[in-house]
Symmetry: C2
Subunit: 414 residues, 2 copies
């Protein structure tokens, strides 16, 4: 084992880290989070706690629920929270208001989006929906390297709509598109490698083929500009507990492009998506706009924690976040190269900025054991099967000094 603090390159990298931190436009934002001496590089799994959350949740529990009780559905704005919070997320992903609703898990939103996409494309439906199998669009393409739940849910959507599911590497989607393609489900950033896929070009190719795009933004929203409206994305989903810091299992969201809303036909048309939810009518008449992505009663505690968490973004530009994110991952790779003995780790995250999200994934022997030792030493990332050390960089609260320290601790393990 080498001694990391004895490394000759250490002083200059530490000095550069200090200079970068001093010049960091987002340095002031760090104080909005509850942090400690840990170098927390796992914000791509669970974001740190924003200081705005605990007091808000106490008010929601004690006053809104405890004292106002049922009146809070109106008086505390509970009923309209899904679309109100959707509008707060919207600018972070490049969406105009009225296109995002918050609620349910990412998996449930993937289901709404993929079935909805097949229906928008006029495809699938099998026996149940009036379509005819074998005619028209009956294929769903899914990112072959997807986070598993997207693939599982897409398979279920395919089965229920009478479509075939075909896993394809994102780069190969343009060649795989055909007149049979109904929907394409892709990840903006790969959860394992941190690869950023070319959303504008792939979305354009999908549209040109007459198919409907569904993007999973779990690993990009809050870390880099997405440009949903600008790039003509049809449908999108994302979680809110990673770079949006909404808390454990905070509700996910669904984006339905304005042009599609009047034809969006949800497979989960719960009473909250009804044009008149309290009319209690036997027939479902879908609400206008993004509201038709709602399903049942929203989980208010988790949802209002998210709303409070989003306040950290009030004066933050996602473009500045992206600039810092790339600087952080560049600097981490540089420090790893300087501190970790050659050959001990290998980056599987693309070097090109245009292909990199806000994480670095290092392939490493005994990655599970190495990550345990890192965590013992105060550097928290995570391990992904079979051999990946995964480090996420949340520009709102991670500093360059921490990045240098993390690489030093890692180098000390070999």
């Amino acid at each position: 084992m080498s001694e990391p603090y004895a490394d000759s390159g250490r002083e200059s990298l530490a000095g550069r880290a200090a200079a970068l931190d001093a010049a960091d436009e987002l340095g002031k934002v760090r104080a909005r989070f509850v942090l400690d001496d840990t170098v927390y590089l796992d914000g791509n799994s669970l974001g740190a706690l924003p200081r705005s959350v605990p007091g808000r949740i106490e008010d929601v529990v004690r006053r809104q629920w405890g004292s106002l009780r049922i009146r809070s559905w109106d008086e505390s704005g509970w009923w309209t929270a899904p679309e109100r919070i959707g509008d707060r997320i919207a600018p972070l992903v490049g969406a105009a208001p009225g296109q995002i609703v918050v609620g349910d898990s990412t998996s449930v939103n993937v289901f709404k989006a993929v079935v909805g996409a097949v229906r928008l494309a006029g495809g699938g439906e099998g026996a149940g929906g009036g379509g005819a199998r074998g005619e028209g669009r009956d294929e769903i393409l899914v990112d072959a390297t997807t986070f598993p739940t997207d693939g599982y849910i897409a398979a279920s959507a395919a089965r229920l709509t009478g479509c075939t599911l075909r896993p394809v590497a994102p780069d190969e989607v343009p060649d795989a598109l055909s007149g049979r393609t109904a929907a394409v489900l892709l990840n903006h950033v790969d959860y394992r490698t941190g690869r950023l896929h070319d959303l504008p070009a792939l979305t354009a190719a999908i549209r040109a083929a007459g198919a409907v795009s569904v993007w999973d933004l779990c690993h990009s929203a809050g870390a880099l500009p997405v440009g949903l409206d600008e790039h003509g994305v049809d449908l999108a989903v994302g979680c809110t507990y990673k770079y949006l810091n909404g808390g454990p299992g905070s509700p996910a969201y669904l984006y339905v492009r304005r042009d599609h809303q009047s034809r969006f036909d949800s497979p989960l048309p719960g009473w909250n998506s009804h044009a008149e939810p309290f009319g209690m009518t036997a027939d479902h008449v879908p609400a206008d706009g993004a509201l038709r992505g709602r399903v049942g009663t929203p989980d208010i505690l988790s949802m209002l924690a998210l709303e409070a968490a989003l306040e950290v973004w009030d004066d933050v530009s996602i473009e500045v976040v992206r600039t810092k994110s790339l600087a952080l991952t560049d600097f981490f790779l540089e420090c790893v190269a300087a501190y970790v003995p050659g050959g001990a780790v290998e980056s599987v995250t693309p070097a090109a900025h245009a292909e990199r999200g806000s994480q670095v994934a290092l392939r490493c022997a005994d990655a599970g054991g190495v990550m345990s030792r890192l965590i013992e030493r105060g550097v928290v990332g995570d391990f992904r099967e079979p051999d990946i050390l995964r480090f996420g960089f949340t520009p709102l609260y991670v500093g360059f000094g921490e990045v240098e320290r993390a690489a030093g601790v890692l180098g000390g393990l070999f």
Copy 2:
């Protein structure tokens, strides 16, 4: 307008209320809730705040999320919360452990249950699932008087599985069952009238017809014994924010009878239902047991608020709750008869105990206006279209004196 306090029958009813409260075995439980001078008869919409919740949620937010962060998935028991809390609900609905998972909204659970029921019955599936339309079981029966979301979601499940949806009054289900029936979705207690349906007999009839039963327990769980295991119910769902006091939009639950678990085939097979969720494999291998009803990442804040809320049940028997519930609704009807001028209101809730849940619904002219005036005077129920005053009686915290007072205030409005 009559003067309620001048009513000659008042003193004796008030005296009886005081005696009933003094003898109330559940009187001690009231102190476990945050209450005030309001007579809160809307616990069948949103249960009152248990005192065990605020401190727990503060710990979950500040320590578990804020300090332990990602470690809490293991160290704070986040990951296993859905089945752990399911096992806490189980005795309240007559289920042995290992058959209930908590998570998602009621609507989403209705979807899992109805599609799962059709598959358990070997029916439906249309083009997508290998079944053949027109052969075998292709009909779903749904309670014609259901809370709307169940009907909307059942319609979607029917469409996606190639089945026909047929609304039937619960009493007429036995006659409507046939060799075509795949699944039957019923409410244990009607949300509007408070009618309690005959779960044992209807479940037996459904089973005898070779179909699969799905019961919605939203308006019965926590108010009366359900007996899921005893009566052979196949699948059940319910919310937790009414008589279980879990908080606004707290997660719902799904019961899958043990005999069916190995064949339960969820239409929402998210990564949390995988046998090895962190294996990150491309193929979905369902977990054993109730876990296969899980979908995505659980909403921890809402879920752990529910867990704390369930502590009020630690020494409470559901049979005692039922006895008090019937005494409360009987006494309310008696007070209404005494205090409200004849013909001003008419109960649409059955008089027979065997047919009554834990609410009383009164038909009344200008019911919306009457309810507003009641609320102004400190008696909180709710209004349901078109002409119903709805009063819920939560035996854990509603007393007989409050019931008498509520009827008096109501009488004073006419």
